[in-house]
Symmetry: C2
Subunit: 149 residues, 2 copies
DNA sequence: TCTTGACTTACAGTTGGCTTTAAGTTGTAT
DNA sequence: ATACAACTTAAAGCCAACTGTAAGTCAAGA
């Protein structure tokens, strides 16, 4: 069973032009063509496209994804190098998670800040607020800011 | 105590040109100038730059950050709208966390896949692997892939 | 006063990841 | 056989977020 680029694009919820672009950039070395030159996607291509989507969501640049696809096409001899790439990207995702957690704490602080300001009708309330009225979760954050000054 | 753009850039670990770009885009309405036109950063500007960094890490585009800075300059009348912006961005971060968690599971699966293939010397080991040898954590993932076919 | 390094602006260039356009081809339905 | 939608390529365009260049100005030390 084959799919045209339009059908595959719909299935993946991307624009056909995006798939053409990926193909041009060498990210889809597995795609076959009809005698007339039309791309014919197979069901098993989904596995590659899923991999591509995963690496993209992990923040891997298209160039590196292309390297990965090239290594894959070279077969079992490149298993080690593919594993290394995966582990590197895994570390990157763990780092992103750490970073997002920090960012969320900051946003939670700002949310509290503006909720409090809203209740008081003015941001000035924070100039006179004693430290022990700041929720505990935000104290390490504020200590850090002091250090940065 | 004042800092030049170079000193501030070093302190923030960004290029001076980046700060100039931000200023040009209206993200730094708080920066004062010397009589000769040199930017003079103050210690209290750090608070704004921290806010900027936080919003940026949260994935907010520079245009929106600019709106936020403009609202801030308008004082207490805009507390509500700033709170709304913060809450919107907080939701976005929660969604990014959800997404990253999913991505990590995928990468963990691929890591296991290549570790197993490495031990066997070939990816072919996965064609004959019975489902009950796949670690449990990855089963929901594989079920999803089946459904997508 | 003069040198020197860091600053200033305006503007062009770069990178990454698409998206659009134009001109032409394929393949299915009538 | 013909029409028509969906495909093809090459090339240009677009957007965000910088980054680099050129020409000139500022300010601190010898």
């Amino acid at each position: 069973m084959f799919y045209t680029i339009g059908e595959m694009a719909q299935r993946l919820n991307v624009a056909p032009s995006t798939l053409r672009y990926y193909d041009k950039e060498g990210l889809l070395p597995f795609v076959e063509r009809s005698s007339g030159g039309i791309r014919m996607f197979k069901d098993e291509d989904m596995e590659w496209l899923r991999m591509l989507g995963c690496l993209k969501k992990a923040g891997m640049p298209l160039k590196e994804i292309r390297s990965f696809m090239e290594l894959s096409r070279q077969g079992d001899a490149t298993i080690n190098r593919r594993l290394e790439l995966i582990e590197k990207q895994r570390q990157s995702v763990l780092e992103q998670q750490r970073q997002l957690k920090e960012t969320l704490l900051m946003l939670d602080y700002k949310r509290w800040y503006y909720q409090t300001a809203q209740a008081a009708g003015t941001c000035a309330v924070h100039e006179t607020m004693p430290l022990d009225q700041v929720p505990e979760q935000f104290r390490p954050l504020m200590a850090e800011w002091e250090a940065e000054k």
